[in-house]
Symmetry: C2
């Protein structure tokens, strides 16, 4: 056991000589950005791995959502989840649309289709649903609602690299899917994102928009600078070569967590929708309503023990102010109940034990009456 | 003389071993992004060089404008120049404001103060003026208008590193100034930008907005991911060490141009506002109304001779559609008349001669009657 902090995520970093050589090659070429050959090569690699030809990278997962809205020509209200990282509503806003927050469903934390159906109005131009912590949303129900309303369904699949659903990449669903390639994701390009589609030609539109929308008839209003640099693309290509190994490592880390947490009753892993596999984006847990602490308090107390966890649906991360289509009781409750524990492939079994020991100490110190098993760990 | 193309700008690139060592250091640290120590160090370096303490970097010059609007709390109409790179109007739009285009003044190509004064309405919340090609706008007149209207004046000084005006850095003017650190700028961080102010505390607001606006009371709606990565910041710090030498080289390149172009009557360098120095951002020239070709044609024909020039105010780069406060005859005309010639410190005297020879051949081939001097170069 060590006293060094256990961070939430550590970036996947291949051997430094390999990365260094890739970066040196970019510097030697003198082409540092502006849609150079490394960006195109990286796009081709991502496309080949996913089997999705129509794919363009961009500067971030946030700009991926923004450019998806722009490429689809949206400009009105867009439904977003009330329980989501702020990037979702902000990407919609930056895409010149107005986000309207809709409640989550309880089990998988994804957008509640009934609430979406009730929220559709003539002003609704699209739906951005999140594959929350890598768990598929109710894609069939959402697709039916979008089809019936005649509006596009965008999936923010920011964390979904490597996850399949019904034997297809989770990134292949929806009218458009967006990916984050931020350093904290399973595969990354330091900062970055991608937009892709299996049904609409979207990549060339995104390529134009990420470069100020410049073209023969003028610069499109949805344009911006959302390019990926050649340095970042070069890192992305090398890191991608590590992604499969990282998936294997994360499957193991999750098994350690599942085993170590099996007796902790006040805190349970969030279930993964059947048909989806593997569950490698995050280690999300839910605190029971009668848990001895709420999510923000658990994070604070874990931090004192050198364990970095995060309550993404709580105050700090909620877009404010934001319009909602009605009350969002589930999302409001999730803010108090959902915590992401440290989760990355480099964690050892003893790291995981240290996290779970700390959780049990925090719980056991408060509720040794109701949770006898926690007493094994002195508070 | 060589046949290899003369490009518009080549990025300043310090010795590869120095850059490589800086990048290796970032990789070794394992911290690749998210406001790490290299971003803070780079901000401190830029601040020290400018003498402007209140400065924050961000992902691009476009997001610098966007975050400046957000940090100032703007949400309504913002005046922008009709003759400007599309990033200006797009940064304003991405900042949830509505750009209203106003005409340029003829001599320096900057925003026309009279047209601005006439365009102010109760809906006007701010002015984004551009220091066009490094030439100061009419800062006194614009400041008086902004003050009288009670709205902030933002200067997009994207290209203005190293330029002083009345013995102060040009980046020190206005309520807020924004800088681009894109690879094609005099000093750069591959992709990047900065927001600074000598009158308002803005840097901490920008730091919050670039990281999704996350904070105790929630995520601000103007937030986004507009961070600079540690890799880019590390490059920026090394390149900054080359900036003074690049300025000296560009002063020499401009002298070669001024000498070589002295007899070309149909195309003259755009003047620089007195009191500003040195003129090192761009080599902008103006074609006379009776010139043998217009700006887009000149660029096309130069390209056939292996010379890359650019007509930034022409169709491809103009934001469309965009609201205007009235007719913009000067800006419309500038689209046909203004060309930026290749301009960077690595150009040799013979490169410059090759560019000017090509210009004179294009002119001379068409108008040897009216421009006798062009006849020295066979068309």
């Amino acid at each position: 056991m060590t006293d060094s902090p256990i961070v939430l995520v550590k970036p996947v970093l291949p051997a430094l000589d390999k990365l260094g050589a890739a970066l040196h090659e970019v510097l030697r070429s003198g082409v540092l950005t502006n849609d150079g050959s490394r960006v195109h090569a990286f796009e081709a690699l991502l496309s080949a791995r996913l089997g999705i030809a129509d794919l363009a990278v961009c500067g971030s997962g946030t700009t991926a959502i923004q450019l998806a809205c722009g490429a689809l020509g949206l400009s009105g209200e867009v439904i977003v989840p009330a329980a989501a990282f702020p990037a979702v509503a902000q990407g919609v806003r930056r895409g010149s649309c107005t986000p309207v927050a809709v409640d989550a469903e309880r089990t998988f934390l994804t957008l509640d289709p009934d609430a979406v159906a009730a929220a559709i109005t003539p002003r609704t131009e699209g739906i951005v649903a999140v594959q929350t912590f890598g768990c598929p949303a109710d894609v069939d129900a959402l697709a039916a609602i979008a089809r019936s309303a005649g509006i596009p369904l965008i999936f923010d699949a920011a964390t979904c690299w490597g996850i399949t659903y019904r034997d297809r990449p989770l990134l292949a669903y929806g009218d458009v899917s967006t990916l984050s390639l931020h350093a904290m994701k399973l595969t990354h390009s330091v900062e970055g994102g991608a937009v892709m589609s299996t049904v609409h030609p979207i990549a060339d539109k995104v390529r134009r928009l990420r470069n100020f929308g410049i073209g023969a008839e003028g610069a499109l209003p949805a344009g911006t600078n959302a390019r990926m640099s050649e340095l970042h693309a070069a890192v992305g290509a090398v890191v991608l070569g590590e992604a499969d190994a990282e998936i294997v490592r994360r499957i193991q880390v999750r098994e350690w967590y599942m085993d170590a947490l099996r007796h902790t009753e006040w805190l349970r892993p969030v279930p993964f929708r059947p048909g989806a596999w593997p569950n490698v984006a995050a280690m999300a847990v839910r605190l029971r309503p009668d848990a001895p602490v709420d999510a923000p308090t658990l994070c604070d107390e874990l931090k004192r023990d050198g364990v970095h966890a995060r309550a993404y649906f709580t105050g700090r991360y909620r877009p404010r102010p934001i319009g909602t289509a009605g009350p969002t009781p589930v999302a409001d409750e999730l803010g108090k109940r959902i915590v992401c524990l440290p989760f990355w492939g480099g964690l050892t079994e003893s790291d995981v034990m240290r996290v779970v020991d700390a959780i049990d100490r925090i719980g056991g110190g408060r509720c040794h009456e109701s949770h006898a098993l926690s007493l094994e760990y002195p508070g």
